[in-house]
């Protein structure tokens, strides 16, 4: 960010505490990025998006064709964070109990047989739900409680999940046979839906060099769970002015076809818009982004920056929109353009 004027002598000084906190936040995030960059080539925006979700307290849905390093990215992230990591390969025959865990009959040391809860892979800090759309909706729904309430209820007993908790799910947008599209409720629980794009030419060369040689990169643990929670608290301290907040609300309301803030295209091609979770996602992620920009406040620019990944999976296209191949990102861009602030004449 470059400013058009220089800061001259001023009697005011920004509190060192706040400045130091923000700088520290940025430094730590950059450290994670650097560790991930040792393994993952390119995909900077995807990494930043994952960071926003991590420190915003949300989950990520990664969408991309196979082989783009989605799973590797998640594994690397968990390694750099020093958190517990679980991976679930979603298959059509996967059952909810396979995700959440179940009670099994076990013999106690006294020789008595009793039910004992066998925790599923959901009990972790970082959960990779690989190819989540290959499981049936029933199994997919097993994650609903875990993602939202950070708890799992089995046989009437609720088990709290350990914080920080983040689910990173992947799905293949092309291979639709034998897949089950995620239900709206499930989609809504993801803070971001990130699209993993194909690497560029230079990135491909670098990927080949890294993966086809004997040189293997080690990933260091640069953060712990307590720091992540502390950074999450800092994120929530970022103030947001009313006019910025209203901008976010206008965008969320504008995703609904019957709203006065909606664009003509949204009115034509969208069946249902974002839930209030979308607005929450906008604000939380934009706060992270503001800190990453060394700012103490959320700007409208931050809202616009995170609008695509935060809203794209919350807009349900109608039949006409699907038939026309309408891209949600384009609809969001139009919405942002419509509500862009302008300098008064």
């Amino acid at each position: 960010m470059t400013f058009k004027f220089k800061i001259q002598n001023s009697k005011f000084k920004i509190p060192m505490e706040a400045t130091a906190a923000v700088n520290d936040f940025v430094t730590r995030v950059n450290a994670i990025k650097a560790e991930m960059a040792n393994v993952i080539v390119g995909q900077d925006m995807i990494v930043e998006g994952v960071m926003m979700c991590l420190f915003g307290g949300g989950h990520v849905l990664l969408e991309g064709v196979p082989g783009l390093g989605k799973t590797l990215m998640v594994r690397t992230l968990s390694q750099s964070l020093g958190l517990k990591f679980s991976r679930i390969q979603f298959t059509p025959d996967l059952m909810p109990a396979d995700v959440t865990g179940t009670n099994i009959i076990a013999e106690s040391p006294e020789g008595r047989k009793e039910f004992q809860f066998q925790a599923g892979p959901v009990f972790t800090n970082v959960l990779l739900a690989d190819e989540i759309n290959r499981a049936t909706p029933k199994t997919q729904s097993a994650l609903l409680e875990a993602m939202q309430e950070r708890s799992v209820t089995v046989a009437g007993k609720t088990y709290k999940l350990e914080e920080p908790y983040i689910v990173l799910a992947t799905q293949n947008p092309l291979e639709m046979e034998g897949t089950y599209p995620l239900p709206e409720a499930q989609l809504d629980r993801f803070l971001f839906k990130l699209r993993v794009y194909f690497p560029t030419f230079e990135d491909m060369i670098q990927i080949l060099n890294r993966t086809t040689s004997s040189d293997t990169q080690e990933v260091n643990n640069v953060m712990d769970a307590a720091t992540i929670l502390e950074m999450r608290r800092l994120v929530r301290e970022v103030p947001i002015a009313p006019h910025v907040q209203e901008h976010a609300v206008r965008l969320v309301l504008g995703t609904h076809p019957d709203s006065e803030y909606a664009t003509e295209q949204i009115k034509q091609f969208v069946r249902y818009g974002s839930s209030p979770r979308g607005a929450q996602a906008l604000l939380l992620s934009s706060k992270v982004r503001a800190l990453l920009q060394h700012r103490f406040h959320v700007a409208i620019e931050d809202i616009d920056f995170v609008a695509r990944p935060a809203l794209r999976h919350r807009m349900i296209l109608n039949f006409e929109g699907q038939a026309e191949g309408i891209d949600s990102d384009q609809l969001i861009d139009d919405l942002i353009a419509r509500h862009a602030p302008a300098v008064s004449a």
């Binding site: 960010m1 470059t2 400013f3 058009k4 004027f5 220089k6 800061i7 001259q8 001023s10 005011f12 000084k13 920004i14 509190p15 505490e17 706040a18 400045t19 130091a20 906190a21 923000v22 700088n23 520290d24 936040f25 730590r28 720091t227 502390e230 950074m231 608290r233 800092l234 929530r236 301290e237 970022v238 103030p239 947001i240 002015a241 009313p242 006019h243 910025v244 907040q245 209203e246 920009q293 700012r295 103490f296 406040h297 959320v298 700007a299 409208i300 620019e301 602030p341 302008a342 300098v343 008064s344 004449a345």
Partner: protein
């Protein structure tokens, strides 16, 4: 860790000084924004005003539009007012300025966000007012909307807010308002400048009558401006009269001034000018009629003066009797009778003396009234009185000379037997006859004797010459002109008498209450009368194009509006001569004369049925007056007294009790037309009078 050291539990309140500093900076910024926006709004609105004004001036220069200077200033002033209103209404606050500064300087909502936390009351959002139900509040809401604002919901203070405020104050301290709101020469300003230049150019551009016809160009160049100046002069004269307090007259003078100005600008057509002049003339005449009695008495003392004079003629005495009774109409008739007598000239010597006396008294009455025109009229009356006295004397001398002639020559000639020449020492006697211009010549020693007027003796000659028009003859001979060259003119004596009789008639009309008001001396109000005269003069001038004969469509007398009604017609233009000799002018509502088919259409509204059919209720005189010969300027109704002269009786068959008409109008038309044709076909009826009768029947001719 830095994050662990950060105290989250105790949110820091933003510093007051930083907030105030931020506020001051943003207020300065808003003030500049408001100034710029104010001028921008004025420029934006004035674009239209100046543009319209420029187009108006351009149309004015091309004679497409007429208007006063304020019509140019009005749209400009109006647009400036609208711009002022918009500029005042659209005032920005500190928060708007902060938003703009953030946008302009890429501050990412720093200033606006900080202000939202330090001065949350400044964040205003326009909200809709409840619609007004009553008329005036609703009108006021439309003209001067007062927007209502809602303050945004305050946001929670967080630990990073002080840092945000300090950061914003730091950046605002060095903020340059000109960088946020630079002085721009935007599109409105450019358009306004262009329109102003165009307006200035159009104002100083000469008039371009390219779209006018030759006739219109001529009118616009000379006739209308000259007439307009005259009207303005009389209007100014009336307005400058400090004694004049009648509001109606002042109002009329203002209208006259306005009309004069319009005519001077020459953006109106001649037809329109004449119509408006006629309308104004009607109003002036009406105002003169409706003047309050005391006002009349104050302004017109002539009848009062006449009442106290010693009148000798029968008509004069009767007039005084009527004046005593307040019967102005009857008194006016007596004056007209006297004028008629003088015109006809069949007065005895004694009657002439009496008439001369009365004329002198009338002149005195007029003179007491004051005024230039009154003085002129009084002089005319005195000249007429003098002429009458001279005639009386000359007739006495004529009788004496006739007796002398008998004694000398032993002959007496009868004036009605024509001429008789004798030898060198003989006498020449002749009859002048009734036609003016015929003269008798006498030899050197001859005598010439006429039967009526005048006798002249020449020094060095023995003969006498008598003629009907002694004064004229004398003048002709003295100037060396041949008498035959002055055929048709009147003698000086007759002219004087004619002038006197005209003056009497005007006085009579004045007595009636203004009427057509031919002179100031007869006016109820000198100012009104003067206006009336000037308007008529202007009508004549404008109608004849300022120089009779210049315009082929004008017959020189067309400036008079027949019956005082020029509405919708242009005297001198629409009224074309209908006969080849131009003896008879056209009439209003009549088409061009076709000598084969008669008048094309458009009847004159002469009969009741025709009036019903066409709505034209003008009287016969109104329609046909202008078509009479030019010498007959006025319509006179001569009423005979019952028992005098022959009475023609025409027996008609019909239902004496009245009732619905049983014979259709078109059945009797031919019969009456034939009778009328036969009547006017007689030689004794002048040709100029035949044509109107024929036209009348043509105009009421029933359609087949």
């Amino acid at each position: 860790m830095a994050t662990a050291d950060f105290s989250h539990e105790m949110p820091l309140a933003p510093g007051a000084s930083e907030g105030a500093s931020l506020r001051r900076t943003l207020d300065r910024l808003a003030a500049r924004h408001n100034r710029l926006r104010f001028w921008n709004e004025i420029a934006r609105a004035m674009c239209w005003g100046v543009g319209f004004a420029a187009l108006g001036v351009l149309a004015y220069k091309f004679y497409l539009l007429d208007g006063d200077w304020w019509m140019v200033a009005l749209p400009i002033a109006l647009s400036a007012l609208i711009g002022y209103r918009n500029g005042v209404m659209k005032r920005s606050g500190a928060f708007d300025a902060a938003l703009d500064a953030d946008q302009t300087l890429d501050l990412n909502d720093r200033l606006a966000s900080a202000l939202a936390f330090t001065h949350p009351e400044l964040i205003r959002q326009r909200r809709a007012n409840a619609p007004e139900t009553r008329f005036f509040p609703r009108l006021r809401a439309i003209l001067l909307p007062r927007p209502a604002y809602a303050t945004a919901t305050p946001t929670l203070q967080t630990a990073l807010v002080p840092a945000l405020v300090q950061d914003a104050a730091l950046r605002a301290g060095t903020l340059d308002p000109k960088a946020v709101y630079p002085l721009r020469f935007g599109r409105p300003q450019k358009f306004l400048a262009g329109a102003s230049v165009a307006l200035t150019g159009f104002v100083f551009m000469p008039s371009m009558p390219y779209l006018l016809s030759q006739e219109q160009k001529s009118d616009a160049k000379k006739t209308l401006p000259e007439t307009g100046k005259k009207l303005q002069a009389i209007a100014k004269e009336v307005q400058d009269n400090k004694d004049l307090k009648d509001p109606k007259t002042k109002n009329l003078s203002k209208k006259l001034m306005a009309l004069g100005k319009r005519m001077e600008r020459a953006r109106m057509g001649k037809k329109e000018a004449l119509v408006e002049m006629a309308q104004l003339r009607e109003k002036v005449a009406q105002a003169a009629k409706q003047s309050p009695p005391e006002f009349k008495a104050q302004l017109d003392p002539a009848p009062e003066e006449l009442r106290h004079q010693q009148m000798k003629t029968d008509e004069g005495r009767k007039m005084q009797q009527h004046l005593d009774k307040g019967e102005m109409e009857q008194a006016a008739k007596q004056l007209e009778k006297l004028a008629e007598k003088i015109e006809k000239g069949n007065l005895s010597n004694e009657e002439k003396e009496k008439a001369a006396h009365d004329l002198e008294k009338a002149a005195q009455a007029l003179r007491k009234q004051g005024g230039a025109q009154n003085e002129q009229m009084a002089q005319k009356l005195e000249q007429a009185a003098k002429a009458l006295r001279e005639e009386s004397k000359q007739q006495g001398q004529k009788g004496q000379q006739g007796e002398d002639g008998k004694k000398q020559n032993g002959k007496q000639q009868d004036g009605q037997k024509g001429q008789e020449k004798q030898g060198q020492n003989g006498q020449q006697q002749g009859q002048q006859g009734k036609k003016p211009g015929e003269q008798q010549k006498a030899g050197q020693n001859g005598q010439q004797q006429g039967d009526k007027q005048g006798q002249q003796q020449k020094a060095g000659q023995n003969g006498q010459q008598q003629g009907q028009k002694q004064g004229q003859q004398q003048g002709n001979q003295q100037s060396g002109q041949q008498p035959g060259q002055r055929k048709g003119s009147q003698s000086g004596s007759q002219q004087a008498q004619q002038g006197g009789s005209e003056a009497l008639r005007k006085m009579a009309e004045s007595m009636r209450g203004g009427g057509s008001g031919q002179g100031q001396g007869n006016s109820n109000s000198p100012s009104l009368q003067r206006m009336l005269d000037q308007i008529k003069e202007a009508e004549r001038q404008a109608g004849s194009g300022g120089s009779p004969g210049n315009n082929p469509g004008m017959n020189g007398q067309s400036g008079d509006c027949p019956g005082g009604d020029c509405n919708g017609v242009t005297p001198g233009k629409d009224l074309k001569p209908s006969d080849p000799n131009s003896a008879v002018g056209g009439g209003p509502g009549l088409g061009r004369r076709d000598h084969i088919k008669g008048f094309n259409n458009k009847g004159g509204g002469l009969s009741n049925q025709h009036a019903k059919r066409t709505g034209d209720k003008r009287r016969w005189e109104d329609v046909w007056a202008s078509r009479l010969p030019s010498t007959q300027k006025r319509i006179s109704r001569i009423k005979g007294n019952l028992g005098q002269g022959e009475v023609e009786q025409l027996q008609t068959e019909g239902d004496p009790k009245g009732g619905p008409v049983k014979t259709p109008y078109y059945d009797v038309y031919d019969t009456y037309k034939k009778e009328a044709d036969d009547a006017v076909g007689k030689e004794v009826v002048p040709p100029a009078y035949k044509q109107p009768v024929k036209d009348y029947f043509d105009s009421i001719k029933p359609s087949k």
